[in-house]
């Protein structure tokens, strides 16, 4: 499993997560169109590399369905961040 913090440290990667939150099950084509529409100038190849980092961190699921590949957001790796610094009294934490 890759580093969630490193995966989140890049603005383009955060934008990818934003777009996948807006609609799941996107093709790479749709994601690239959305990012271009938001002013990102990354190439398709660069987006693919960002997706590999996000996939390693478990934040994006790359799902093959027949001849197509769809991208989905998975926010479950973010739970470790919340768990570590969750609000409230920290007496029970050691």
């Amino acid at each position: 499993m890759g580093d969630v913090y490193k995966a989140l440290a890049d603005p383009t990667r955060r934008a990818i997560l934003d777009e996948l939150q807006d609609r799941g099950g996107q093709t790479l084509f749709e994601l690239c169109a959305r990012l271009a529409g938001k002013g990102f100038t990354s190439t398709r190849q660069a987006i693919s590399q960002h997706l590999a980092v996000l996939s390693d961190a478990g934040l994006v699921v790359i799902r093959r369905e027949g001849r197509y590949v769809f991208l989905d957001l998975d926010t479950s790796p973010l739970r470790q961040i919340y768990q570590r610094w969750r609000a409230g009294p920290c007496g029970s934490d050691t």
Binding site: R23, Q26, L28, F29, E30, A36, G37, Y68, V69
Partner: protein, 129 residues
């Protein structure tokens, strides 16, 4: 110079003719036997003398590799204009057409992408309402 024809590689000309006429609503323009295959073109009924779409056999080995790679990443091979993308999405979905991208408004355009059943993805587009 003018653009007279655009070609699309299809895996089966009969299947392609059925889809492009029966489902999409284009009209057959030319069907000329040519060896193993046919010179097969369709036009839009809105522009019978407009650009002809050639339904070309994808027999060349490189064509299959090319098509597969585009489909994997959801990249359409060409784009058709429609007055209303959402309405066309509803109409085609009801006919069993599979979309890899539901209607999306970006950059002043609304687009959607569907599978032509012949190994290609096609984008439909309209200026954003």
């Amino acid at each position: 110079m003018r653009i007279g024809h655009l070609s699309i590689f299809v895996d089966d000309q009969d299947k392609a003719l059925t889809f492009y006429t029966g489902v999409l609503g284009f009209t057959k323009k030319h069907e000329i036997p040519l060896g193993e295959h046919r010179w097969l073109t369709v036009v839009s009924p809105e522009e019978p003398d407009g650009v002809e779409l050639v339904l070309e056999p994808d027999q060349h080995p490189a064509a299959a590799t090319f098509k597969k790679a585009l489909v994997t990443d959801g990249i359409p091979v060409t784009m058709f204009g429609v007055p209303d993308v959402a309405a066309e999405y509803e109409r085609l979905t009801a006919l069993g057409v599979i979309f890899t991208q539901e209607p999306l408004s970006v950059g002043g355009m609304t687009t959607a992408v569907f599978d032509d059943t012949c190994g290609n993805l096609i984008q439909i587009a309209a200026p954003q309402a």
